[in-house]
């Protein structure tokens, strides 16, 4: 058993699927779950719009890949990849309605000690104010690139998922985020 099998990896897609590009993280997560079977040490979680409630889920992992929409001042559909620790100053998280949102939660994790390493795969959004279950065309066009970016991230951690056949049932990644069982 190599070390990479033991490392607990969390792939966390976040966002609000009702607000167009806001939901891109959850959308990419769903695609990953549908297409691939991951080893047992990899957990896929739809974090929705939770902040503080995700503390337990995040602290239970050694490495977290967050998938979300970001504001980096680049053209919409631009895909970013950065380490949370060394996040560039010009990249901002979106404002969330919740005052203790995921960004603030992740900011205080180092205070708790042994916080996991976090990398972010993000995409520059175009519209997160309009109502709609569909992504804008430029962000939709970036989904494949984001999936590839997450897979590359996992590959660097020694994780090689198996492609699922079209007939296989994908696991449920929705709900149970803080059940911890």
């Amino acid at each position: 058993m190599s070390d990479s099998d033991k490392m607990r990896i969390l792939v966390l897609g976040v966002g609000n699927v009702l607000l167009r590009d806001e939901g891109v993280g959850v959308r990419v997560l769903g695609e990953l779950a549908r297409r691939f079977a991951f080893p047992e040490n990899v957990r896929l979680v739809d974090g929705g719009v939770l902040g503080l409630s995700l503390t337990g889920t995040i602290m239970d992992a050694d490495h977290v890949v967050v998938i979300d929409a970001v504001r980096g001042g680049k053209p919409p559909g631009t895909v970013f990849r950065f380490d949370w620790e060394a996040r560039p100053d010009h990249i901002h998280y979106k404002d969330s309605l919740h005052q203790i949102d995921l960004m603030e939660t992740m900011a205080i994790l180092p205070l708790l000690g042994d916080a996991p390493k976090v990398t972010v795969v993000g995409v520059e959004y175009e519209d997160i104010d309009g109502w709609g279950l569909y992504l804008t065309p430029k962000v939709e066009a970036a989904v494949e690139k984001m999936i590839a970016a997450v897979l590359a991230e996992l590959d660097a951690l020694g994780v090689r998922p198996l492609a699922r056949s079209r007939w296989e049932k994908a696991p449920d990644v929705f709900g149970g985020a803080s059940q911890g069982n």
Binding site: L52, Q99, I100, I108, P110
Partner: protein, 549 residues
């Protein structure tokens, strides 16, 4: 005369704007404005009533569970069903967990930074901090090395410049009064609670299926049959509950008392006049009013705790004179209408998306203070004992309860008494199982045309759901009157201020550019709605605008 706008108020949920007028260093007038329209009532119309608990529960991701409970109680009421004991106890336990999670998170994460200067904690001596911790309570991880470690982590955090939720605080404000060691202790406990709160979430998931948003409330009872009947599951729940009790007795309460002892004058600031509680934790099943609530409901007018009166839901109205809704008479929630108009802020006219709830035409404070006053007046033994112990410890009179300090203390007292009582409820479930009582859902039938109400005290105050369904068993009208509306609602047609507006009048503000005093009182209500501040300087008409933590 300076006008000050805090918009949005942070460290709360949602969008709240507070405006105050300051004269001679004190607040002369105040306006509380909700900046968000939800329209849940509109979403629910025409649906199967059984959708309501799931949809209303999503009103919030923090006070989860409470809307599901109020909603399911309204459905039970409409169907005229009495729920079995096991269901009643399970609902009480889930509701108790919500109080633990909400209240302690409020104290450490949302409220403590109004009293505790985290940046000043970097000046603390870990040795003295450990001695202070020992004198207050008996809790692990409180040695010199532990505090040295926390201080180092905090130092690294502050040096990184990425302050997250500590950004934009008023660190160094002259009215932060704690010694550096107490600030470090509070910061350490803030971190400890962030760890512990994941356990509170787990407790809810154990019996509620998941957290946030429990899934087990069904008309007539609960559906978590396997968990309620599994003694191992109950033992696990009990084990977590013990951990919560240890934290409350050795960390939360001692911290509250230690902080309060430096801010006793806040026992005379931020009070209101009238109080309303619906009661909670039914001791037997039955329709509204016959459930024998362990923490009683009631109404107190003019701070007269000798004469609490029973709540008559028929006397509740909501009016919209100063709110962004089409004008109409004050209405009872059963007849409630929700017709939003375009928001256009007008100090003299309409200025909020909150309606103004009134009881017998008067504004009422709801929440832990109202709930604990009713229990104190009603002679609930553990509440009486705890309230008296806190008053004695701080050497303050009963009248000091009507204040920002009293409100924050009441929240801690309530957390303690509920957590202590929960152990009894777990044992009562075991007793029921022992005698072979395994009923978790009562049989019920669709009532056709019916009305139902679910009135219950929740961590932030009195929560009411009213449902009106038609002969086809579809929702005709659904109204929610939520705690923050009672507390943060606007003026009414008579010009009576809402409770938060009233509580702010008279508050001293040392530095209008850093109005930490305003935040202390607003946060003490644990508002569930976000705020930044524009200060208009009357001499230059200059507007300062900044975000407040």
């Amino acid at each position: 005369m300076a006008k000050l706008t805090i918009d949005p108020i942070t460290r709360i949920e949602g969008h709240l704007r507070i405006d105050v007028e300051i004269e001679n260093g004190k607040v002369k007038d105040a306006w509380s404005s909700a900046q968000l329209f939800r329209g849940l009532e509109i979403i629910l119309k025409g649906r199967d009533p059984r959708d309501a608990p799931h949809i209303t529960q999503r009103a919030c991701g923090v006070c989860t569970e409470v809307h599901a409970l109020a909603s399911i109680r309204a459905l039970d009421d409409a169907a005229g069903v009495k729920i079995p004991d096991l269901a009643r106890l399970t609902r009480n336990l889930l509701h108790g967990v919500q109080f633990i999670h909400d209240h302690i998170t409020h104290f450490y994460v949302l409220h403590a930074l109004d009293w505790v200067d985290v940046v000043n904690a970097l000046q603390a001596d870990p040795k003295k901090t450990a001695a202070l911790a020992d004198s207050l309570g008996n809790y692990p991880n409180s040695g010199v090395n532990d505090f040295r470690d926390v201080k180092a982590r905090l130092q690294k955090f502050v040096d990184s410049g990425q302050l997250g939720p500590f950004a934009n605080g008023y660190w160094g404000h002259p009215d932060y009064r704690l010694p550096a060691e107490a600030n470090l202790l509070a910061a350490a406990h803030y971190i400890e609670w962030l760890r512990m709160q994941t356990r509170a979430a787990r407790m809810m998931a154990m019996l509620g299926g998941k957290n946030p948003h429990v899934q087990v409330h069904v008309t007539g009872g609960v559906s978590c049959v396997q968990d309620v009947m599994d003694v191992e599951r109950l033992s696990e729940f009990l084990w977590y509950l013990q951990a919560m009790r240890r934290f409350i007795d050795n960390v939360y309460l001692p911290d509250l008392l230690a902080v309060a002892s430096f801010y006793k004058d806040w026992g005379g600031i931020g009070g209101t006049t009238n109080f309303l509680a619906y009661g909670n934790f039914p001791q037997k099943s039955g329709p509204y009013g016959q459930e024998d609530m362990w923490l009683p409901g009631g109404v107190i007018f003019d701070r007269d705790i000798a004469k609490p009166q029973p709540v008559d839901p028929a006397r509740i109205t909501e009016e919209v004179k100063r709110a962004w809704y089409a004008d109409g008479e004050p209405r009872h929630p059963y007849q409630g209408v929700t017709e939003p108009i375009l928001p256009d802020y007008d100090y003299e006219g309409k200025y909020s998306f909150f309606k103004a709830p009134r009881y017998e035409g008067r504004p009422m404070e709801v929440g832990p203070l109202a709930q604990m006053l009713m229990a104190y007046a009603g002679g609930v033994a553990p509440v009486k004992a705890s309230v008296e112990a806190v008053l004695k410890h701080l050497d303050i009179p009963v009248t000091a309860l009507f204040s920002t300090l009293g409100r924050t203390a009441a929240r801690a007292i309530q957390t303690k008494v509920i957590t202590d009582e929960m152990e009894l409820w777990v044992n009562q479930i075991v007793e029921r199982l022992r005698v072979g009582d395994t009923e978790t859902v009562a049989r019920w039938q669709w009532p056709g045309e019916a009305m139902g109400m679910g009135l219950i005290d929740v961590p932030r105050g009195a929560l009411g759901h009213w449902v009106k369904q038609n002969a086809q068993n579809r929702i005709d009208n659904y109204q929610l009157v939520v705690p923050s509306t009672w507390n943060l609602g606007p003026r009414d047609a008579k010009g009576q201020l809402g409770p938060v507006e009233e509580s702010l009048v008279g508050t001293p503000v040392a530095d209008p550019k850093r109005p930490v005093e305003i935040l202390r009182t607003v946060h003490s209500f644990d508002p569930c709605i976000a705020c930044g501040v524009h200060v208009i300087d009357p001499h230059t008409n200059e507007v300062y605008k900044f975000k407040v933590l």
